[in-house]
C-alpha cells in the first residue's frame, strides 16, 4: 500500500505548526514500533446572561496531545492536557509502557492511507476571531431580553447563552497518515419558563453555525417560547397504543440511538441487534439511512476521520435493507473488510472507535413537513421532548422506554398538551413501524439530522 500523505483542506491554510509538532513526536518512534500523534489546540468563549446582566463570562484556551503506540499488535495510549516540551516525551513513554501490557491481537494496527481523497470541507469562519468580546456579550444580553419580552406568559429566562469555539488539530503517524483540520463554531441557546397560574413549563431553543453571522436569535427564541407556552395546562396523558410523531429535534436523538447499533465494533463484539443481519429487511421501505460527513450542511461535517482517513459517504440501510456498518481500522480488520473512514474520538484524551458523524434519513415526498406528517397520521401523540434516553434505551437489546412531553394529535392537528408519560417499544419494532418520514431535513447539533418522523404501534403509559 502506498503511503501517500493526505493533507490540508479547502478554505485556507491548516495549522502547520501543529503538523510539525506531531511529525516531530512521531519521529521519536523506535524500531519495531508504530506511533500515532494527535495534537489539538482550541479557544472558547461563553457568555451567560440573566435578568439583564451578564451572569458569567468565560474565556479560555487549551491544548493537548494523545499518543497511540502499537508494538507487535499491542496498543497503548496516553494523553496530556499540555503541549509543553517535557510533557511530550513523558506521554510517549507512558503510551509505550501501556502497550507492553496489552494482549497481542492481529487485528490491532494503526490506519494506513487508503488513497481516498479528502473532500474539500471548509469549516472555518475567518471573521470569528475578530469579533470583540463586547459584541458577544451584547448578543447574549439581547437574546435574554428578546426571550423575556416574547410572550406575556414567559415568567423567567433561566439561561441565555452565547458561545463559540475554534479548534485546530493535526494527526501524524509512522504508518503514513498526515492530516490537519480546523473548525469554528458558534451558538445561541436559550431556556425559558412559561407560567400560567400555578403551573410552569419549560422550553429551550438554539441556533448554531460556524460563525456569528450564521446565528438567528429569532429562531432560537421562537422555538424556546413556543415549546414552553404550548405545554401550559399539560396533564398526564392517557395510556394506550398509538402512533407517535417525533419532532425534528427528537428524531435526531432517535437516529443517534440507532447509530450505536450500526457501529462495526458493536457488531463484531456481539453488542448490536443488527449483528448477522446484512441483506435482511430491518425496516420499512421508507427507511434509507446514510452517514455522509462530506455534506457541508451537516453539523458533524469533516474532511478526515479520527485516524486521519478521508471521511466518505456510507449507505447503511437502503429501502429497509441493512447494507453495511461503520468501521474504523481495527473493527474493519476484525470483520475482514476495510475502514469506512468512520473513526471518531472525544478529543485528545480519547481513543478512536467507529461512529456516525452525519447520519440522515432519505427524506419523504417534497414538501412533507411537520404539518403534513401530522395530517397523514390523523390520531396519535406528538413528542417534543424526551427524558431518560440514557437510562431507558438499550442499543444492545433494543429496548426503548423514555419519558415524554408533547401534544395529542387529533384530526391531523396538534390538540391538548400532555406530560408525565412514557413512550415505549423496541428499536427493532420501531424501524419496522416507521410510517412517515418528513422532507423537512434540518441539520441540528449532534451526529444526525433532524426531520419529522412518525412511528406506529408504540405503547404510551400515563393515566
Amino acid at each position: 500500500m502506498t503511503a501517500a500523505p493526505t493533507r490540508g483542506e479547502g478554505g485556507g491554510s491548516g495549522p502547520d505548526d501543529l503538523v510539525a509538532l506531531a511529525e516531530r513526536v512521531a519521529g521519536w518512534s523506535r524500531p519495531g514500533e508504530d506511533v500515532e500523534v494527535y495534537v489539538a489546540r482550541g479557544t472558547e468563549t461563553e457568555v451567560r446572561a440573566y435578568s439583564g446582566e451578564v451572569e458569567s463570562l468565560s474565556s479560555a484556551t487549551s491544548a493537548g496531545i494523545g499518543i497511540r503506540v502499537v508494538v507487535d499488535h499491542r496498543l497503548g495510549f496516553a494523553w496530556a492536557g499540555s503541549l509543553d516540551e517535557a510533557v511530550l516525551g513523558e506521554t510517549l513513554d507512558e503510551a509505550r509502557d501501556n502497550a507492553s501490557f496489552a494482549t497481542p491481537d492481529d487485528h490491532v494496527d494503526l490506519a494506513v492511507p487508503d488513497g481516498v481523497p479528502a473532500a474539500a470541507v471548509d469549516l472555518w469562519d475567518e471573521a470569528l476571531a475578530g469579533v470583540p468580546t463586547e459584541d458577544k456579550v451584547a448578543l447574549a444580553l439581547a437574546l435574554e431580553a428578546q426571550a423575556r419580552g416574547a410572550d406575556p406568559r414567559i415568567r423567567q429566562v433561566d439561561a441565555a447563552d452565547y458561545g463559540d469555539g475554534a479548534v485546530e488539530m493535526a494527526l501524524v503517524s509512522t504508518t503514513g497518515i498526515r492530516a490537519a483540520s480546523r473548525r469554528t463554531s458558534a451558538y445561541l441557546s436559550v431556556g425559558v419558563i412559561a407560567g400560567d397560574g400555578e403551573a410552569s413549563q419549560t422550553g429551550g431553543g438554539f441556533s448554531v453555525g460556524r460563525g456569528v453571522g450564521d446565528l438567528d436569535s429569532d429562531r432560537a427564541t421562537e422555538d424556546a417560547v413556543s415549546r414552553a407556552v404550548r405545554l401550559l395546562g399539560a396533564r398526564k396523558g392517557p395510556s394506550g397504543r398509538t402512533t407517535v410523531v417525533f419532532d425534528r429535534r427528537m428524531a435526531t436523538t432517535l437516529l443517534s440511538v440507532v447509530s450505536a447499533a450500526l457501529s462495526g465494533e458493536a457488531v463484531e463484539k456481539g453488542r448490536s441487534f443488527f449483528a448477522g443481519r446484512i441483506g435482511e429487511q430491518v425496516g420499512t421501505a421508507g427507511l434509507t439511512l446514510v452517514d455522509d460527513p462530506t455534506d457541508l450542511r451537516a453539523y458533524g461535517a469533516s474532511a478526515y476521520d479520527a485516524e486521519g482517513l478521508a471521511c466518505r459517504r456510507n449507505v447503511l440501510v437502503d429501502s429497509g435493507v441493512l447494507r453495511g456498518f461503520l468501521y474504523d481500522t481495527v473493527s474493519a480488520s476484525r470483520a475482514g473488510t476495510s475502514s469506512t473512514g468512520s473513526a471518531v474520538r472525544g478529543g485528545f484524551a480519547g481513543t478512536p472507535g467507529p461512529g456516525c458523524r452525519a447520519l440522515t434519513l432519505a427524506p419523504g415526498p417534497e414538501g412533507y413537513d411537520e404539518d403534513g406528517v401530522l395530517a397523514a397520521v390523523g390520531e396519535g401523540l406528538f413528542v417534543q421532548s424526551m427524558t431518560g434516553v440514557h437510562s431507558g434505551v438499550n442499543p444492545v437489546s433494543g429496548d426503548f422506554s423514555v419519558g415524554a412531553e408533547g401534544l395529542l394529535v387529533r384530526d391531523g392537528r396538534l390538540a391538548e398538551p400532555v406530560r408525565e408519560i412514557t413512550v415505549a417499544s423496541t428499536l427493532q419494532r420501531m424501524l419496522q413501524a416507521l410510517v412517515a418520514v418528513g422532507a423537512d431535513v434540518e441539520w441540528l447539533p449532534g451526529i444526525a439530522a433532524g426531520q419529522t418522523v412518525a412511528v406506529g404501534d408504540m405503547q404510551v403509559s400515563g393515566t
Binding site: A60, S82, A102, S239, E420, T422
Partner: protein, 464 residues
C-alpha cells in the same frame, strides 16, 4: 502546588481592575484506566492534566479564565484575563484589599506526590478475574467488558477572603458489563464498584462477585417479559441505586435552581413536601463513598446537611455564589468537573435515612406490583418536578412474592407527588456510586437508600 505568596500576588492582580471577590483553583489530575473486552486486554490509557481556573466576581458578573500554565507568569496572565472579562461583563467595579491568606485547611497532599501508577499488572489481574467469573456464570454469557479506572486529583484553592485549602482525592472504580444471548435476542447486565480510595478498594470488593452480579442480571433478563405499562406499586431494593431521591428532589434543592425560581421546591422551606418517613441528607464526609471529599471545589469543608426531616423541607444546597446573595454560609456543595469549569451547586452523597420496616415484609405485603433490584440512570426537569429513572433489573410482584423478571423500562413521576407516596422504609441501607451530569459537567456522587415502597408510579413498559 503553588506557594501562598504567589497565590496572594495572583489574587491581587485578579482584583486590580475592581471586583469584590477573586479565587484561584489549582488542580493536578492523573488518570489511569484499562479495559478488557472480548477476552483481550484492549486498552491501557494514562492521562495527566494540570492547570488553574481563576474567577473574579464584580457585581452580578463572574469572570472566568483558565490556564494550563502554573508558573507565576501564567497565573498572572489568567488573573488579568478573568479580571478583564468580569469588567467587560458590565458588573460594578469596587476595589477591595486582599489580606494575607489564612492557614491551610482540608488535607493538602504532599508537595510532590508521585504520579498515579499503581501496578498495571495488578489492575489487569482484576479484569481477567472478572472476565473469567462472568463467563463461568453461564454459557449464554457471550460478551464481557471489564473496566478499571483510577484517578488522583490534587486541588488547592485560595480566595480573596483569605481562604486557603487543599485536598488530595484518589478514586478507584471497577465495572463489568455483560451480554447474554437467548431466543428472544440480546440482554445486558452491568455492575460497578467505586470508592474514594486507592487500590485497597479490592480488599473489600471482589471482582468475581461483581462480575457474577452483572452476568446473572443479563441471564435473568433472557426470559424477561415486557415491563407493565401504567401505574403500579413499586418496591425499590435497598441500595438499588438511590437515584430516586437524587432526581425526585436532590436537583430541585440546589440553590441555583431555587434562586431562578426554576424548582418546584422554591419557597417551600418549612412545608411538608414528603411522607413523614422521609429524612433526606446530603453528606460529603461519609467514609470513602464516591461523592466524599475533605473540602469542596471552593475550599469549604464538606459537611452533613439535612435537607428534608420527617417529610418537612429544612434547607437547600449552597455554593459560595448563591450563599453570598442570601447572606449565609455555603454548605460545602460548590463543585466543578475540572479546573476548566466554573463551580456550581452540586450534591455529594445524597441518601434517605433508614426506617423501621423489614424489607421482606414490605414485599410480602405488596399483592401486586414491581420490584426494582437495580436502577440505571435518571433525569429531572427541576421546574416541573417531572423525573424519570430507569430499571436494569426488575421483577413482577404477585401475591407478595417476586415472580417473573422484567425487561428494562423507565419509570416516570413528579417529585413532590412521589415523595408523598412512600409508605414503608426498611432498615437495609446501602450506598451506590454514580456520575451526576449538570450543565455539561460530570462529578462523582453517592446515592443511598433502604428498601422502600411507593404506592404508585407510572411504569413505561410495553405490556398493555
Amino acid at each position: 502546588m503553588i506557594e501562598p505568596p504567589v497565590l496572594e500576588r495572583v489574587l491581587s492582580e485578579a482584583l486590580r481592575g475592581g471586583g469584590e471577590f477573586a479565587e484561584v483553583f489549582c488542580e493536578d489530575r492523573s488518570t489511569s484506566s484499562a479495559v478488557l473486552d472480548d477476552g483481550r486486554v484492549e486498552e491501557l490509557s494514562s492521562g495527566r492534566e494540570r492547570g488553574a481556573g481563576i474567577r473574579v466576581v464584580a457585581g452580578e458578573t463572574t469572570g472566568f479564565a483558565h490556564t494550563a500554565d502554573l508558573s507565576e507568569q501564567g497565573l498572572l496572565r489568567a488573573a488579568a484575563a478573568a479580571s478583564a472579562v468580569a469588567r467587560s461583563g458590565g458588573g460594578g467595579t469596587r476595589t477591595v484589599d486582599t489580606g494575607p491568606l489564612g492557614p491551610a485547611t482540608g488535607r493538602p497532599g504532599p508537595e510532590e506526590s508521585p504520579p498515579l501508577r499503581g501496578s498495571k499488572a495488578d489492575a489487569l489481574d482484576l479484569l481477567v478475574r472478572a472476565d473469567d467469573a462472568a463467563r463461568a456464570t453461564g454459557d449464554a454469557v457471550t460478551q464481557v467488558q471489564a473496566g478499571y479506572g483510577a484517578s488522583r486529583r490534587r486541588i488547592l484553592v485560595a480566595n480573596s477572603d483569605g481562604l486557603l485549602a487543599g485536598d488530595e482525592q484518589t478514586r478507584t472504580r471497577l465495572s463489568v458489563s455483560c451480554v447474554a444471548v437467548g431466543d428472544a435476542g440480546l440482554q445486558t447486565g452491568y455492575e460497578t464498584a467505586a470508592r474514594t480510595m486507592g487500590f485497597e478498594l479490592f480488599a473489600e470488593v471482589s471482582p468475581e462477585e461483581l462480575a457474577g452480579l452483572a452476568a446473572r442480571r443479563a441471564l435473568a433478563k433472557l426470559s424477561a417479559r415486557p415491563a407493565p405499562s401504567g401505574e403500579l406499586p413499586v418496591v425499590l431494593a435497598g441500595g438499588s441505586g438511590g437515584i430516586l431521591f437524587h432526581e425526585a428532589c436532590g436537583h430541585g434543592l440546589e440553590a441555583d435552581h431555587i434562586a431562578k425560581d426554576a424548582s418546584v421546591y422554591a419557597g417551600r422551606v418549612g412545608e411538608q413536601v414528603a411522607s413523614p418517613l422521609v429524612t433526606l441528607v446530603d453528606d460529603g464526609t461519609v467514609g470513602s463513598e464516591w461523592g466524599t471529599a475533605a473540602v469542596d471545589d471552593e475550599g469549604r469543608p464538606a459537611q452533613r446537611n439535612v435537607l428534608i426531616e420527617d417529610g418537612v423541607l429544612t434547607d437547600y444546597l449552597w455554593d459560595w455564589l448563591r450563599a453570598r446573595k442570601e447572606g449565609r454560609v455555603p454548605s460545602g456543595n460548590g463543585r466543578r468537573q475540572t479546573y476548566q469549569h466554573l463551580p456550581m451547586v452540586r450534591m455529594t452523597n445524597t441518601f434517605l435515612l433508614p426506617g423501621p420496616d423489614d424489607a421482606d415484609e414490605i414485599i410480602a405485603q405488596t399483592p401486586h406490583g414491581v420490584y426494582v433490584a437495580r436502577l440505571g440512570g435518571g433525569q429531572v426537569n427541576t421546574t416541573t418536578g417531572d423525573f424519570v429513572f430507569g430499571t436494569t433489573e426488575a421483577y413482577l410482584i404477585e401475591g407478595g412474592r417476586l415472580t417473573e423478571p422484567l425487561r428494562d423500562a423507565n419509570l416516570i413521576g413528579n417529585g413532590p407527588e412521589i415523595l408523598r407516596r412512600i409508605d414503608a422504609v426498611a432498615s437495609d441501607f446501602a450506598m451506590t456510586p454514580g456520575t451526576c451530569g449538570k450543565d455539561g459537567q460530570s462529578v462523582p456522587v453517592g446515592c443511598g437508600q433502604a428498601t422502600l415502597r411507593l404506592t404508585g408510579v407510572t411504569i413505561g413498559g410495553t405490556a398493555e
